[in-house]
C-alpha cells in the first residue's frame, strides 16, 4: 500500500497484545503517542491494516480526544494548568510569562523545536496551584520568576546540543 510504513517492533509487540482485546483502540493510540510523542499519519495507515479497522474509525477517535496530537511537539512539552484552582491563582499570567520568554503562543513550538506550549485542564495538584508540567515533571506554586528559572534550567541543559535532536519521526 502506498502509505504503508512498518511499525517498529517495540510498538508492534504492544499492539499485538492489545489488539486481541475488545475496545483497545485508545490504549493502542496512546502507545503510539508515547512512542513518537504524537500520532503520525503514516502510522495510522499501518495501524488500520494491522487492526483491520477503517482509517476513519481511527481518525474519528484520534480527533475526539485532546490527549492525542497529530503534529510533532517540542522536545519539552510545557503544559500549563488552566484548571479552576490554577486559573484563580494566576495561570493566565504564567502562560503569558512563558509566551514572552520563549516568543511563542499557545499550541506552538519554538523554532528550535526545544519547547512547545499548551494549556491543559487540571492536572490534579490544585493544592499547590498554579502548576505546570514539563514532559512528566510537575512544577507547583509557580510565579513569573520561578517559571523563568525553570525554563533557563532546560535551556542550559541543552546549550550546545544540536537542536535537530528529533524524536524518532518517520
Amino acid at each position: 500500500m502506498t502509505f504503508y510504513t512498518p511499525i517498529p517492533d517495540e510498538l508492534k509487540e504492544y499492539i499485538d497484545k492489545w489488539k486481541l482485546k475488545k475496545g483497545s483502540l485508545i490504549m493502542i493510540l496512546r502507545s503510539v503517542q508515547d512512542y513518537y510523542g504524537y500520532v503520525p499519519k503514516k502510522i495510522c495507515f499501518s495501524l488500520a491494516k494491522e487492526l483491520k479497522a477503517p482509517l476513519a474509525r481511527i481518525y474519528e477517535v484520534l480527533t475526539f480526544y485532546n490527549y492525542f496530537k497529530t503534529e510533532s511537539p517540542g522536545k519539552y512539552k510545557i503544559a500549563v494548568c488552566m484548571g479552576t484552582a490554577c486559573y484563580l491563582k494566576g495561570a493566565a499570567a504564567i502562560i503569558k510569562a512563558i509566551e514572552d520568554k520563549l516568543d511563542i503562543k499557545e499550541s506552538q513550538a519554538t523554532k528550535d523545536g526545544l519547547f512547545s506550549l499548551e494549556n491543559v485542564r487540571c492536572i490534579g495538584c490544585c493544592g499547590i496551584a498554579p502548576n505546570m508540567r514539563i514532559n512528566e515533571k510537575i512544577y507547583g506554586k509557580l510565579n513569573k520568576e520561578r517559571v523563568s528559572e525553570i525554563l533557563d534550567e532546560y535551556i542550559n541543559l541543552n546549550a550546545g546540543v544540536s537542536s535537530s535532536q528529533e524524536p524518532p519521526i518517520l
Binding site: 490527549y67 479552576t84 485542564r121 490544585c126 493544592g127 499547590i128
Partner: protein, 533 residues
C-alpha cells in the same frame, strides 16, 4: 543523635512530588544508607495538607508521630539530628479537627505500593466477609442501610444501582461489568487521584465487593489521561492482588472469579459521564448515549454494568466491615457518611479534606481552610466545578448535603471546592467555566454544542464592555434550553455556573453592562480604559 527515630514517611502523591518530595526522598535515603541509620523511610500517599508540601511524618520511639511541613533536605537533616524546627511542626489534631476520615483513613499512613500495609490495616477483610458471610442480598442490604450515595456527582443511591444490575438475569457472569470511574475531569478537584495514589487497594476491594454483589466477573478501572502516578500505583496494586490470588479465580476459595483491568482516558471531560465513559472503554468517540436504558441494565458492550466513582467504591469496604448502620450514624438525614473535598483557591490552607456530611461550608472554609489568604474578603465558593454553581457568603452556614447544595443552585459534585475572594469577578468565573464547557462539549447534541459557544460569546461581550441590557435575558434563555434539551449531564449542568452567578451577583453583571466596570478589576476593558484615561 538519631537514636529514637524509627520511621519517616514522605508524602509522595503527584503534588507532593511536584513540590519536591521525590528529591527529598532520594537525598534522605542516601543519607540514611550512608550513615546506616536504623530508620525506615516510607513513601506514603497524600496527607491532605497540600499547602504545606513537601511533608514528612516522623516517628520517634513510642511517641506520637510528628508531621513537618515545607521540608527540604536541610530541615530534614536537622530533624534527623533531633533539632526539631518547631515552626515547621504541624499540629495534626488541629488539621483533622472537624474532619472524619473513612475514605482517607489510610492515605498518608500506608505505603500504597505495598499490599502488606493495606492488609495490616484490615485490608481485604471486607471482601472476605462479603463472600463468606454476607452473600449477595445481604451486601446490598448493608449498602442500603448505610445510605451511601454516589460520590461522582449526582448522588444516586448506590444500592439501587447494584440491585438493578444484580437483578438482570444473565446466563453467565462474564456478562456483567463493574467500572470504577476515575476520570475526575472536574478542574480543581483531585480527591479521586489522591485516593488512587494513596490507597488503591481500598478501591480495588470496593470493586470486588460490587462485582460479587452484582454477579460481575470483570472490572475496569477507567483512569484519566493526566494521572500517570495513579495508573502506576493501581497497576502495581492489581498485580499484587493477582500474586496473592485476591484477584483471579476462586477468590477466598469460593466460586467468585474477578478480573481487573485498567483502561485510560485520553483527555475528554465528557468521558466522566457514565455512558460516554462506556463508549470510551469500547474504544470509540466519547459520545454519551441516551438514558434510559441505564448502564445498570445495558452498559458496556450492552451488558449490565455498575459504574461507580472512586470514592463511592472506597467507602464500601468500611460499610461491609462495620455495618451499614454504623456508617449511617455519620451525616445528615438523606446524605450519609463523609465527603472528601479538594479545598483550593484563595484559602490559607488548601488541602484534601474529609468531613462528615452536614458540616457547614463555613466550617470547611474558615476552620479547616484557615479562612481567606492575604486579608482579602471572601466572595463565593464554587462546588461541583463546571457542573456546579457559586455560593455567596450569606449561605456559608448551610450544612453540606446533596439537597442543600442543589437548592442553592449548585451541586455536591465530585468534591472540588474552590474559594474565591474579592479579586475574583463573578462574570469572569462564569466565562471561565463556560469556556471549559465549550472546549469539552462532545458536540453530539445541538443545545450544548451551540448553546455553550453562544453563552461564551455573550459573556465575552460583557467582559469586553460591549454588553447590552437584554444579554442577561438571552443568557437565561439559552441556559434554560440547555438544561432541558441537552442530551447528557454536561450540557444539562453547563449553565449552572452562569445561572448561579446571575442569581447571586446580578449587580455585578449589571455593572459590567451599564457602567462598563468590573469591581474585581479582572475584566480587560477596564484596564484598557483606565490606561486611556
Amino acid at each position: 543523635m538519631f537514636e529514637n527515630i524509627t520511621c519517616i514517611k514522605i508524602g509522595m502523591s503527584s503534588c507532593g512530588v511536584a513540590a519536591g518530595a521525590e528529591e527529598l526522598y532520594q537525598q534522605l535515603s542516601a543519607v540514611i544508607k550512608e550513615k546506616k541509620l536504623p530508620v525506615e523511610l516510607k513513601k506514603v500517599g497524600c496527607l491532605g495538607i497540600c499547602y504545606a508540601e513537601p511533608l514528612i511524618e516522623v516517628k520517634t520511639g513510642d511517641n506520637p508521630a510528628v508531621i513537618y511541613r515545607n521540608v527540604n533536605i536541610e530541615t530534614a537533616l536537622e530533624i534527623l539530628e533531633n533539632k526539631i524546627p518547631s515552626e515547621l511542626v504541624i499540629d495534626e489534631d488541629l488539621e483533622i479537627k472537624n474532619q472524619k476520615r473513612i475514605v482517607l483513613k489510610n492515605c498518608g499512613k500506608i505505603d500504597p505500593e505495598k499490599i502488606e500495609d493495606y492488609i495490616q490495616n484490615k485490608g481485604y477483610q471486607a471482601i472476605k466477609k462479603a463472600i463468606l458471610e454476607l452473600k449477595e442480598e445481604k451486601i446490598i442490604e448493608e449498602i442500603k442501610k448505610s445510605g451511601l450515595r454516589g460520590r461522582g456527582g449526582a448522588g444516586y443511591p448506590t444500592w439501587l444501582k447494584w440491585k438493578a444490575t444484580k437483578e438482570v438475569i444473565s446466563l453467565n457472569n462474564d456478562g456483567k461489568f463493574v467500572i470504577c470511574n476515575g476520570d475526575e475531569g472536574d478542574p480543581g478537584a483531585y480527591m479521586d487521584r489522591s485516593i488512587l495514589e494513596g490507597d488503591p487497594h481500598s478501591v480495588i476491594e470496593g470493586m470486588m465487593i460490587a462485582g460479587f454483589a452484582t454477579g460481575a466477573a470483570k472490572g475496569f478501572f477507567y483512569i484519566r489521561a493526566e494521572y500517570p502516578l495513579a495508573v502506576d500505583r493501581v497497576q502495581k496494586a492489581i498485580d499484587q492482588c493477582y500474586d496473592r490470588n485476591l484477584l483471579g479465580e476462586k477468590i477466598h476459595g469460593s466460586d467468585f472469579n474477578f478480573d481487573l483491568e485498567i483502561r485510560l482516558g485520553a483527555g475528554a471531560f465528557v468521558c466522566g459521564e457514565e455512558t460516554a465513559l462506556i463508549s470510551s472503554i469500547e474504544g470509540k468517540r466519547g459520545y454519551p448515549r441516551p438514558r434510559p436504558p441505564f448502564p445498570s441494565i445495558k452498559g458496556l458492550w450492552d451488558k449490565p454494568t455498575v459504574i461507580n466513582n472512586v470514592e463511592t467504591l472506597a467507602n464500601t469496604p468500611y460499610i461491609i466491615l462495620n455495618g451499614g448502620d454504623e456508617y449511617a450514624k455519620t451525616g445528615t438525614d438523606k446524605s450519609k457518611g463523609t465527603k472528601v473535598f479538594a479545598l483550593t483557591g484563595k484559602v490559607k490552607k488548601p488541602g484534601l479534606i474529609e468531613v462528615p456530611m452536614g458540616t457547614t461550608l463555613r466550617t470547611v472554609i474558615e476552620e479547616i481552610g484557615g479562612g481567606i489568604q492575604g486579608n482579602k474578603k471572601f466572595k463565593a465558593v464554587q462546588t461541583g466545578g463546571p457542573s456546579g454553581g457559586i455560593i455567596p457568603e450569606k449561605y456559608l452556614d448551610t450544612p453540606i448535603s446533596y439537597e442543600s447544595l442543589q437548592e442553592l443552585g449548585s451541586i455536591m459534585g465530585s468534591g472540588g471546592m474552590i474559594v474565591m475572594d474579592e479579586d475574583d469577578c463573578a462574570v469572569d468565573i462564569a466565562k471561565f467555566f463556560t469556556k471549559f464547557c465549550v472546549d469539552e462539549s462532545c458536540g453530539k447534541c445541538a443545545p450544548c454544542r451551540i448553546g455553550t459557544i453562544q453563552t461564551l460569546k455573550i459573556l465575552e461581550k460583557l467582559t469586553n464592555g460591549e454588553g447590552a441590557p437584554e444579554d442577561i435575558d438571552k443568557l437565561k434563555t439559552i441556559c434554560h434550553s440547555m438544561e432541558k434539551a441537552s442530551l447528557c449531564g454536561l450540557g444539562q449542568t453547563a449553565p449552572k455556573p452562569v445561572l448561579s452567578s446571575i442569581r447571586y451577583f446580578e449587580d455585578e453583571y449589571l455593572e459590567h453592562i451599564k457602567e462598563k466596570t468590573c469591581r474585581a478589576g479582572k475584566c480587560s476593558f477596564l484596564k484598557q480604559e483606565s490606561v486611556e484615561k
